[in-house]
């Protein structure tokens, strides 16, 4: 019986940016709560710094990048050092951040929690789709 591949999730760090914080939180929920058996963490700083394990995984297995803004550091970095991501998510396509509070650059607040939940659910659905397509 063949085993379906795990999907690597690569989130941007996004310091000083609410999009980055939301991306990170949603990614953590998928990795730890929603799809823990189907996904693996790929640490973007380590990936960019030259982590061979991270880069090797991303060359062989499907990946989803989650970027908090249109600079797409996770997507561009993954394509540059490994392979083009299977799916690239840009959080700017999800929401207008101008209404988010400064505090939300660092800590999820009530106003951003729905967005985190939606993004996490969408990522999980993408994981399922990628894995089912690999059969």
């Amino acid at each position: 019986m063949s085993e379906l591949p795990k999907v690597g999730i690569i989130s941007c760090s996004g310091e000083d940016c609410p999009g980055g914080n939301i991306s990170r939180e949603a990614t953590l929920r998928v990795l730890h709560d929603i799809r823990p058996e189907e996904t693996v963490t790929i640490c973007l700083p380590l990936f960019l710094a030259g982590g061979e394990g991270e880069r090797g995984f991303a060359k062989r297995f499907p990946t989803i990048t989650v970027d908090g803004c249109g600079k797409l550091c996770a997507a561009i970095g993954t394509a540059r050092f490994s392979s083009k991501p299977t799916v690239e998510i840009n959080l700017e396509d999800y929401a207008d951040f101008s209404s988010l509070k400064t505090e939300e650059k660092w800590h999820i607040q009530e106003s951003s929690s729905n967005l985190v939940a939606k993004l996490a659910a969408d990522i999980a659905n993408l994981v399922d789709e990628i894995r089912s397509n690999s059969e």
Partner: protein, 129 residues
């Protein structure tokens, strides 16, 4: 926003609680009592070669906070030709304050927040002019 002389860059590693602690320490420095003096910068943006970010970095005193011995923040900054004024390793700070062990990568808990404060105090003590 005023130009700050000091920039702190956390590793923000997503695999370990220490990455979240590094972010919390950065938040405490840049968004609370010290915000007029400190700012941060997105590490992946630097590695991606954003010229504006790199130029600002080269004009500043740079402090890195790394969550593990791989030292991604420190190494990434050095690779773009910038000297690091001070490196902080989160596990080493924890070794000096063993009660402040963070809960997990999701939520570092009150002890994790205290560990972040320990890091801030260490940086401020060494970073004073």
């Amino acid at each position: 926003m005023s130009d700050a002389k000091k920039i702190v860059i956390p590793c923000s590693g997503i695999g370990k609680a220490f990455g979240t602690v590094a972010r919390e320490a950065t938040y405490q420095l840049t968004e609370t009592d010290y915000q007029n003096e400190w700012r941060t910068m997105c590490l992946p943006l630097l590695v991606a070669g954003d010229t504006e970010a790199i130029d600002l970095l080269k004009q500043s005193n740079v402090y890195t906070i790394d969550g593990c011995p791989k030292k991604c923040a420190t190494l990434s900054v050095e690779r773009i030709g910038v000297n690091v004024a001070m490196e902080v390793m989160v596990p080493k700070v924890l070794a000096q304050n063993t009660d402040h062990k963070p809960d997990n990568v999701f939520c570092i808990g009150p002890n994790g927040v205290l560990l972040a404060k320990d890091i801030v105090n260490k940086i401020l003590k060494n970073g004073s002019d």
